[in-house]
Symmetry: C2
Subunit: 551 residues, 2 copies
Amino acid sequence: MAMQRTPLLMARLIERGAALSPDTEVVTATAAGTRRQTNRDTLQRAHRLAHALRDAGIGVGDRVGVFMWNGSRHLEAYWAIACMGAVLHNLNVRLPGHDLDYIINHAQSKLIIADADLLPLLEPLAGRLPSVEKIVVAVEEGYEDWSTSLPGPVDYEDFIAPWSEGFTWPPLDENAPLALCYTSGTTGRPKGVEYEHRSQYLHTMAMCMTDAMGLSATDTVFRVVPMFHVMGWGLPWAALMLGCKQVMPHRFTSPERLVRLMADEAVTLATGVPTIWQNVRTVCMARPGAHDLSSLARIVSGGSAVPPSLARWYWEALGVEMIQEWGMTETSPLATFSRRRWGPGPASATAPDEYLAEVAKAGQALPGLEVEIVDEEFAPLPHDGQQTGEILVRGPWVCADYYRDPQPGKFHGDWLITGDVGRIDNRDCLVLADRSKDLVRSGGEWISSVDLENHILALAGVAQACVVAQSHPTWDERPVALVVLDRGAELAVDQVLEHCSNRFAKWQLPDDVLFVESIPLTSTGKMDKKAVRADLAESGYTLPGLRQASP
Amino acid sequence: MAMQRTPLLMARLIERGAALSPDTEVVTATAAGTRRQTNRDTLQRAHRLAHALRDAGIGVGDRVGVFMWNGSRHLEAYWAIACMGAVLHNLNVRLPGHDLDYIINHAQSKLIIADADLLPLLEPLAGRLPSVEKIVVAVEEGYEDWSTSLPGPVDYEDFIAPWSEGFTWPPLDENAPLALCYTSGTTGRPKGVEYEHRSQYLHTMAMCMTDAMGLSATDTVFRVVPMFHVMGWGLPWAALMLGCKQVMPHRFTSPERLVRLMADEAVTLATGVPTIWQNVRTVCMARPGAHDLSSLARIVSGGSAVPPSLARWYWEALGVEMIQEWGMTETSPLATFSRRRWGPGPASATAPDEYLAEVAKAGQALPGLEVEIVDEEFAPLPHDGQQTGEILVRGPWVCADYYRDPQPGKFHGDWLITGDVGRIDNRDCLVLADRSKDLVRSGGEWISSVDLENHILALAGVAQACVVAQSHPTWDERPVALVVLDRGAELAVDQVLEHCSNRFAKWQLPDDVLFVESIPLTSTGKMDKKAVRADLAESGYTLPGLRQASP
């Protein structure tokens, strides 16, 4: 044996930050303001939670459900559960009850840690979760009078109170499971992806590279992306490892509150889906200069494609660099980043156009991962920026199968078939097209709803745009655009169509433009096109060209 | 199996850069100027070299010696040898013949790739290297008439000429050996450290973090640190992985040439030992403004402690951030970095004093490694910035033992005993004191030669300072300072001593100050204190207080 065979365990990474930056703060939003504790406090409380969990019968390999907003106790749960060798089972608080029921029973979670304000969502499940022996309730201001009929309820603080720090993390195999995340499946039951210590360790190392998001110990990280959504994009682990200041919004996710929190805490790096940043932009535009966001340097956005007009606005109005990432539950989740370092910083950047061209792409695969595009027979397509194909991915933080739910059809050899569609350019940058199901198939040709949305978003007065397919007897499908306007803005259908015709061919233009108050979002904050299509169907919507003259 | 079991092989990392930045250049200094090839060329040539090596009988596990300056063919050798599963055996061109002889025979290298200008150093070994079957000679301008009596000589270009690209890298165990580096041992025979794919893979991931050296694909990397010295600090792998522009000085390492090359190629990041940067400073000071170093943003320095006055000069005169790293052959070699990102860049940094205080430290352990200090009974010492102890290190890129040369005395449990001495402060930053053998033990107290050197270097007119111990009948040892002055500078012994007395107690002051033309360097470019002491002994040097009145 030439080199040490140190197993790649998360406990070895994440205790580092508390030693390096013991006094740096973990900040959680509350009704009245914020709660604050240091990294050292967080370490001690994570150790105490581990003692309490072990005392409650949680051992290596046991699943512990966590049903919480982003906050300090959620972070402690990440730390304690993973490092003690148990399995952190993230529960998406926005899932419908029948899905929650299914995944808790499928995972066989023994204990659930839940925020008190979320208990009403769990209450309907009482009596239907035979594996759950205990519920630990994290209580924030105003929820002191919580109650639940789930078994063994105990206040989180009472639960950890008897214990002191100094939990000895057990030796584990580096391929031991660490967490379990279920995809919010668009078809069929949710499917679980079981992360392992080694896979998350490597993912954490990769995401701290300069060309990923440039994450540094000196960053103040604002985690808008929910920690119940694919490991919070790995930020909890990375921020603990580096010892960053961490700011979390808990349940206070209105755009106004997010902006205020970023300003008050001098946030330097924020993460979330594009719809969040569209809403934040709306708040900033409504009262220019009202909030000091001068500390904010980078926004990491992913989950769906970043509209170029959005990146341009943040760059020009706030001097903020937007970084697009692409990934999914099956890829831990970070797979590609649009970022190349642009000189010393946005303000002095010499090539904003080059930057804006790059951020419109999903970017280059993180070192260690491989990304490929293929045709319908799985033949690799050229990396010429032109040809569009199904995106495949493989590497040490890509799943090999689903948890107790084999899906051989989701893999091709050792490649994961992502269900996303894209192009790869001659510098190996991935450019996302639509997810297959979001492409509009018209007259045997494909129309990209993302391209149409991005173009419509660049029109002044447009806050959000969503393009969906509607059935058509002749053309198979035709696109329809739903548009949310900025407060006070006015636009006519013809103005939108004329703007589209600057770039798109006649057959690619939407058949209709509907002005709406809002676009429904999925549990992970993306535009919910399935819901949009369902709403249109329910309201009896018909394409203009198919409407019968009234009798 | 939940996540993919992708083995951590270097071939999976380093081909990435050529796909991302195929047209980016690899630049090698020549007598007349530079040789240039693209990343794509380098990939193709590495594949051709692998074909040729396999044809010459090199298989998985075989050692291939490389006796070369930093240049494109050396880089190709790194790539081909490692990825084909053979073992890259770095030969330090500055080693004495008897050490070379020993390590080539100890490693049982089958083939050697050597620069033509270095053949005279190998010639004396002809007939004494039974394992070596073939020598491949890399020929630069002016050395076309090379000859050697080593077996099977062939020109490098002729060797790879018959082959085309498309070598299929074999599947390997991730713990398969990759390279073999011998320490330039201060006592006893050189000892080999055998690196593995997994250990170098993890080392490469860690060194690309923002808080390590902020390495980015957009950097132009100038590798002054020799690639025959501990994997060139890992830069060859990292630069290939990211697709950086790489600049290498080959044998042209005069400070004047280094400065010119940095200016001509718009280098952004340079790596080398402190003595290099002292010499470069001297060149810059001699002709201020003669060379445009405005692109240079960061210098990574290690191998010995970085004098604070040197870091201050680069910061103030050139706006360059210096980053101190600490490590050794046994740690692959990077273990700690002084860097925390200082805002958007040096020019706009708000806290230069804070920066200068940090760069004087060896820094924080890279994520994955653990560093500890202990007393003589191996009891851990407090991290209070005060207590000095032996430095221990462990982690996945620390060696577990030496190659065919077990040294149980060098380990304590799974900790490597580094032989270095230091303090750890309350933010877990390592501060180097001397190597144990370089401390001066006077009257039962320790005097730090590094502290004295750093202080003397801050005196205007001083170019280099070296403090060594001399035996003393009463005090055991007493310090003596050797000083090299800047060109044209004049200083008296008393001025140096008076300057030292501003900070040090009377008993800590050097007993003598000797003005010398130069300080001898080790094969890795550090001050060779063993040679300094030997020179003093040979010249019959006696401490002033011990000199007899002449008879």
